[in-house]
Symmetry: D2
């Protein structure tokens, strides 16, 4: 059996990933919500690593910071989201052993490629983590551990509802006319695990319904 | 039933995509080798479009140009690979109708992101096509046609054997210690089609076993 | 004395580059308009190379293709702009000798990074050339030939006037509230030449007044 | 007169930027070394902002973290370099007023685009700051404040000597056969300021002598 750990697993994309991974015969999923494992709390990360010394599939997911004017961000907020979006995950990746042939999925945001000026906290700490993930894909390549960064655009989650006023008209404004269900990402992740798509590593995959503008 | 057309379908990644797509219940695959449909031959492209006016899944694939010193490339070669790697595919995309909720997969190369100075013909015409694909992902988004560019690194194909001297020691030099089987890409494509992963559109996905160096 | 050749040198950015380069003491500028040297005409390119076998500073510049719906582009148009935006420049770079410590500047467009679906001809052939330039920056690095791709956004040229309806309200819609004068780019180029900024090579530099969205 | 503040101004690229900017007639330079203003010390940042409430030209520069195995990085080190490479600069940009038509230059590293697995601390926190800079280029565009990220490759500084064993053979291994002098970057910056190259904003410019591999 392969062991999967999903953080931020009670809602949105994390929940969908948990559900899809559970359907794979040889995978057992341990899902933690943000109270059981707050990635901004180094103690929680340590506890998680005490409970699970090794893992085959790791889904790094956490809620996003609030939309905020750059000039209004307080030092405590910088530090809080540094811990939650970046440092907690780095510590986890330093302590837990991802087994040979394992997978690490990061759920980030399509704003990492095209920063949204109202989401500076999210944009900056998430891209920092993507850089770490990229290096780890090289460092652990000889053990065939694959690192995949999923960068979602508008997904129909509670997070999205909190960011937009009128979901219906917002969806109509999107290139495909709708925000995707989180299950689309969950199923994408579980297919990679089920097929053992090992050669997909060190990549950022936008999942944004053609909303992104960057050529690459 | 959904109709799939695979170009360059008799070998390597094209063959693998054909095979994997064939296993999906509601998909019928029409596979063409490079003699039946030479993408550099505009007449062939027209014939293909006469035979198939509409399609649900299109896999754009063709052999690569030779490794060549930039200063030795002849005008005829520029024109030949312009036709084969770029113009034939553009004409096809202009003429054939990709049905609502369809998929277009391009098989390119990881050299588009980090150009290999010995493969200028391949690098340049392939990235040109990726640019077209990106625009089409926006143009056809309202009909939920998804465009996915797969950018493979070293895959165990006849092409690879022709480019390297000693396959065995070449593989050992790779980050993961091996070149992937084409079936890994075939299965990745068929999972997207089977799951109807529509929100994955306008993206370039390196498939290179952590060999790429670019952050994004 | 260093010899500079500027193509498309009678208008817009080419004209500005000619003018700025002329002010450098040790630089002589040969400027060609698009009738004297039509980059889509291989004969013109050959004549240019017969006249100038060697060059120190080369500015590759040409007018842009029309805005056009992808499905309306004719085969002749693909071929025309393939020649004008790509092949002519490649042939020139194959034939003319750029001397040791030389400079090659390409004037492209910020649409190469974020393709504009109405400018498929421009986006695709220009990015193809950028890929060639990138490879050449490596191939000629040992002779310290520097390649710099300038990717302009809205610049106050006749080209811009032809693309937008109301220049005044268009400018107000831009992040900085105005379209730049071509002389800003001309001066930028001449400063690089004057200072001998050799280490700037293999780069794409957007010149778009913060209009671009891509992180990198 | 325009006021310039240069951080990390006593050595390497910072020193060169100070020197070059000083030669501009209408610019007065205030240069701080890393003891006078340690960017990792929030008190120092506050003092700097008390001394200078406004600025026209800001050069953000600081020494790099040590090369280190990812698994050996301690929590204190993550936090130290978070402060030094990221948070201090963010606080500075929040507090000090960059005047209309001003310039902000960031000195980062070419490793932000192609992360070096041995320099995870540098790669990750620097790219985080680049993301902030990108957003600020949009936020302050209407006041024509330009943000330019210079991403140097190997530059002949004490930092480089500390990272490589044999400078001479290291230089021979570089594409251009040498590491650039810091003055090349200093002069590049001062030319932008002298020419008032305002339209260059929101960009990352590699300064690496063709060492980078990314197309864009």
């Amino acid at each position: 059996m392969r062991k999967a750990i999903v953080l931020g697993g009670s809602r949105g994309i994390g929940k969908a990933a948990s559900k899809s991974l559970s359907l794979i015969d040889d995978v057992v999923v341990y899902s933690y919500d943000s109270k059981q494992c707050d990635t901004g709390n180094i103690g929680h990360i340590q506890s998680l690593c005490d409970e699970h010394r090794e893992v085959d599939i790791l889904v790094l997911n956490t809620g996003g910071p609030p939309s905020k004017n750059f000039f209004d961000i307080k030092t405590e907020e910088w530090n809080k989201y540094h811990n939650q979006l970046f440092l907690g995950f780095c510590r986890l990746l330093q302590i837990i052993k991802v087994r040979d042939d394992g997978f690490v999925f990061l759920i980030s945001s399509f704003n990492i490629k095209e920063p949204n000026p109202n989401l500076v906290l999210s944009n900056s700490y998430r891209i920092a983590l993507v850089s770490v993930i990229k290096s780890l894909s090289k460092i652990m390549a000889s053990r065939r551990v694959s690192f995949v960064n999923i960068a979602p655009g508008p997904i129909k989650t509670e997070r999205l509802s909190s960011l937009v006023d009128d979901l219906d008209s917002f969806e109509k404004s999107l290139p495909m006319g709708y925000a995707a269900n989180a299950s689309e990402i969950g199923d994408f992740i579980s297919s990679i695990v089920e097929n053992n798509t090992k050669y997909l590593s060190g990549v950022t995959i936008n999942f944004d319904g053609a909303a992104g503008n960057s050529l690459l």
